[in-house]
Every structure is written in C-alpha cells, then in structure tokens.
C-alpha cells in the first residue's frame, strides 16, 4: 500500500515522542529509515512490533565502525501487514558500548547480536548467551576484528 509508511510514522511518533531523532521514507531504498537514540532502541523495535501486530520479521542487525567515535547499529525489519521495509539506526558512543538486547521481542536476533558483539565489541544487555560465535576460543579478549583504529 502506498501510504502505509505514513501511518507507521505517526504511530512511531506517538510511541517514542522526542526519542525519535529522525524518520523519513527513502524511495530509492524503498524503506522507512528510523533514527533513534540508543536508549530507545528496545522501545522502538517494540513499537514497530506492536504496529505490525506481532507480524514483524527481523532480517538482520548490521554493525559498522565508520572510523568516527561511534559505532552504528542498523536493524533491518520487514513488517508483514504493511509490507514495509524498516531500517532502524542508532549510534553508540565508543566509550559506552552498551545497548539493550531485543532478544525478548525477536528471538531471531540471538545470533546477530552475538556476531556484532564479537566483531565490534558491542555489549547487548539482557542477551541470554553473549559468547563468541565464529572466532576461535583462544582469540584474545578485547580485540575486535572489524573495529577501525
């Protein structure tokens, strides 16, 4: 549907209020970009889950260190009833790489969060088993392969 993203924008604004930093529709990506404060990431995903009536498919979480003093987390969601791709972005300062885990809303993230943790060192609070996924067991602590110096 054409204007579904407008309804999503409205309800997100009601749920998150000023925690919602930016929300706009990207026509070239055919996706709704939602920029939120890191404290509200759990609330944002929860709100989107509520908007879709529990019919939300979490595609992936992608973390990126862009050489600045923050790490960017991108959550790719697909809302089935609205048939809408939602990209939720948040920025984590490198001094405090803690963010609330969303495993309780979307159990699918259990592996993605572990990957972001081991590759970039982001700590997901509330994750049931935040351990190494791909890297060998004797990989040194506090060394994150995809971090940029």
């Amino acid at each position: 549907m054409v204007n579904d993203h407008l309804e999503v924008i409205d309800s997100l604004g009601n749920e998150l209020k000023e925690g919602l930093l930016d929300v706009r529709y990207l026509p070239e990506k055919r996706a709704l970009l939602v920029l939120v404060d890191k404290a509200l990431i759990f609330k944002a995903i929860e709100a989107l889950n509520k908007i879709s009536g529990g019919e939300m498919h979490l595609t992936t979480i992608s973390g990126a260190d862009l050489g600045e003093d923050y790490i960017e987390l991108t959550y790719f969601l697909w809302l089935l009833p609205q048939r809408l791709r939602v990209i939720v972005k948040t920025k984590l300062s490198k001094d405090d790489l803690r963010v609330q885990s969303i495993v309780n809303i979307a159990p699918a993230t259990v592996l993605y969060e572990r990957e972001v943790y081991e590759m970039l060192g982001v700590i997901f609070e509330g994750h049931p088993k935040l351990e190494r996924l791909f890297l060998p067991e004797d990989w040194p602590q506090n060394m994150y392969p995809l971090r940029r110096r």
Binding site: K29, A31, E55, L80, A106, L135, P136, P145, L146
Partner: protein
C-alpha cells in the same frame, strides 16, 4: 532427566560441510541442540573492505559457490545503489534469467541431496542429471558452469542472442515435464512421505519469531518472498506469485522447492519473451562518487540475502561491507526443528533448509602460526604460495 551429548560434526557423513552440532539426546529423541559455527570462517567481510569494488564482486561470488549469481547480483545492486547508478533494462532481464537458472540448479541439487539422505538414490541421480543441463545452459550464457562471473557493477558481462533464447526455451520445456513427474513422485511415493511428512515441524509463529527465510519460511506458511515483496531487477515487470505450503515439515519445504522450479521456469520464459533490446551495461568508474549507503535484498535460492555496503567518496574500496546469508538466518529455526525429532531424521531436517555453511561463516583471516595471531594480507599470502 539425564541426557547424553551426541556430537555431530565438524566432519560427519551427514553434513556436507564442516559445522558442529551438539545434540542433547534422551534415548532416540533430540532434546536440545547447540550449534557451533565458524569452522569455515574466512574473514570475507574484512577482506571485502580491503579490496576494490571490482575485486569485491569476485570475492562475494566466492562466499558461496552454489548461489554465486545471487551474491554477485546483490553486491552489484547494493554498490550501484550507493553509487547512484541506474542499470539498463536489458541487463535487468539478463540478470533475472541467470539468477533464476542459478536457482533451478541450486534447487535441483538440494532435492537430489535430500533424496540421497533419505535413501532414495535413484531420484538423486535423476535430479542431478537434470541439473547438468541447467549447468550447460549457464555455461552457454556466462562462460563457466559454476562461477559464472556474470554480474558486474553497471550491468552484465555478456549478451545473449536468438540462438541462446531458443536453446534455453527448448531445455526448459523438456525439463518442466520431468519436474512435473518428480512432483507426482513426491506427492505419492510412500518412502518419501514416510521420511519427510511430519518430520521437523516448524510452526508459522516460530518461523516468524526465529527469522526463518526462504523455502524454510514459505514451507511454514510464512508469506516471505523478496521477489514479491520488494521486487528487484526485472521482477516488477514479470508475474510471480510466492509458493506457500502450510505444513511446516520437511516435505513442505521440499514441495516449495519443487513448485519454485516450475515457477522459475515460467519467469525465465516470460523474461525471454519480454526482454527489451538495448545496452547490457553502463560504464561505472572504479571509485565511489559519494559517501553513501547501499542496501540490497534479494531472494537467493536459500532465502533472503542482504548486502549492506558503506561507500566513501573518492575511495575505490568499500568502507564496511556486511553480508547476511540465508542459512545464517535459518540456524535458529533449524535448531527449533531438530528439537523432538529422532536421531535418524537429523540429516534430512538439516538438508531441508538447504544448509550452506560456507555462506554462514564468512566474516577475519587469522594465521595461528607459532601460537601468535596476526593478520596476513593477501599479497604476502600470494608471495608465500610461490615458494
């Protein structure tokens, strides 16, 4: 309740690629599964951000040998989006055709493998014989049977003419008859029903929550198909309906694949009929014209594949490249399916998601020489290989 650990893998006859699963079993029943990934972890994500975009296309092709077209297509689309390049319409059709041929051979492969694992070797041989003609078609169009090297940034590398069109149509029309026959076998054959029906059940709610993708999701009645949801390449101009089965077992997942074979052939035929004339590629400079972000989602043979790339202005290397492959998304779902099944059903259930573990483990090249860890760059590796 006490339980025994049964360790399957990393190297195991039932697994075609190295991966370890620790099954907690109670008698014959699997109670819990603990996957351990990373045995074929090659550090591709890191390597991608240290190569130029042109080299990246060939590296992502090697994330997975079977769905190589899907990977190059996604990478090309993601990079084109970040560059702001619009590809010609004919190249979109050609991409779709090769992508669907790739899906045909991938589905025929896994159907054969499942048949072998459930002990139906004849059908395995038949499937793989039919797969061979698809491989020949891919060789005819792209120049190689497996590693097609077909998609590049800005379009595709080779054109097809009238001769190729008639060849493809001829092969597909004879293959369609055979696939219909195989479908009848899958519907009726008691052996297949006994080994597949009701095995490895995954409910729709679980599939959604655990983020299952592709035929795994569609076998559980989840309407997820990127070709329908977010049409890419030429899918917005051809008719396509997602194949959905509601049974949620191994049989449903195989039936989804069988029906998709027929649907794919229709898509290819429609593309060949509708294909416009025009250029097949546009020249694209090596460096990114802008700092941007490209996201491309496509329906690979195994499910939804997503590439996410950050480009930096005037740099010929991507800043960050992230790949999420379908098998990786299906791991939580397969763990759920395995709970409560018999040990003997493990291979069939694992094969029913069409696992591709080299896809799953891709992201840092680590050398464990002399106990210390350091990262070797590819050029010194190349030099070393000369000795």
């Amino acid at each position: 309740m006490s339980s025994i650990d049964l360790i399957v893998g990393p190297i195991h006859p039932a697994l075609h690629e190295p991966e370890r699963f620790v099954f907690k079993i109670d008698g014959e029943i699997v109670v819990d599964v603990e996957p351990r990934l990373g045995y074929v972890h090659r550090g591709i994500e890191k390597a991608l951000s240290e190569r130029t975009y042109i080299k990246d296309i060939y590296l992502v092709e090697r994330v997975c040998g079977i769905c190589n077209v899907a990977h190059t297509l996604t990478a090309a689309q993601a990079i084109e989006q970040a560059f702001g390049v619009e590809v010609p319409r004919r190249s979109k059709y050609l991409r779709t055709i090769v992508h669907e041929l790739n899906r045909l051979h991938s589905h025929l492969l896994i159907l054969g493998v499942v048949c072998e694992l459930i002990g139906f070797d004849t059908l395995f041989m038949l499937f793989w014989r039919d797969r061979e003609v698809i491989m020949d078609l891919i060789e005819m169009i792209t120049g190689n049977r497996v590693m097609s090297a077909y998609n590049i940034i800005g379009g595709v590398r080779r054109n097809i003419g009238d001769f190729e069109v008639t060849q493809i149509k001829g092969v597909l029309s004879s293959l369609a008859k055979r696939v219909k026959q195989y479908k009848k076998v899958f519907m009726d054959d008691p052996t297949i029903r006994a080994r597949c029906a009701g095995v490895g059940y995954l409910s729709r709610a679980k599939a959604l929550a655990l983020g299952a993708v592709g035929p795994t999701a569609r076998g559980s009645g989840l309407e997820l198909d990127v070709r329908v949801d977010e049409p890419y390449a030429a899918y917005d101009e051809v008719k396509y309906c997602a194949v959905i089965y509601n049974d949620g077992d191994v049989w449903a997942r195989l039936m989804v694949r069988l029906d998709e074979l027929l649907a794919s052939m229709e898509v290819i035929n429609e593309c060949l009929d509708k294909m416009p004339s025009g250029p097949i590629r546009v020249p694209v400079p090596e460096a990114a014209p802008q700092s941007a972000e490209g996201v491309s989602v496509i329906e690979a043979p195994r499910g939804e594949l997503i590439h996410h790339v950050y480009t930096k202005r005037d740099d010929d290397k991507p800043f960050r490249y992230r790949i999420r492959t379908p098998t990786y998304a299906n791991i939580p779902a397969v763990c759920e399916m395995l709970k409560g099944c018999y040990i003997a059903d493990i291979p069939a259930i694992l094969a029913s998601i069409d696992p591709c573990f080299s896809c799953t483990d891709r992201a840092a090249l680590i050398d464990t020489n002399s106990g210390e860890k350091r990262i070797i760059d590819i050029l010194s590796l190349a030099r070393r290989s000369k000795k």
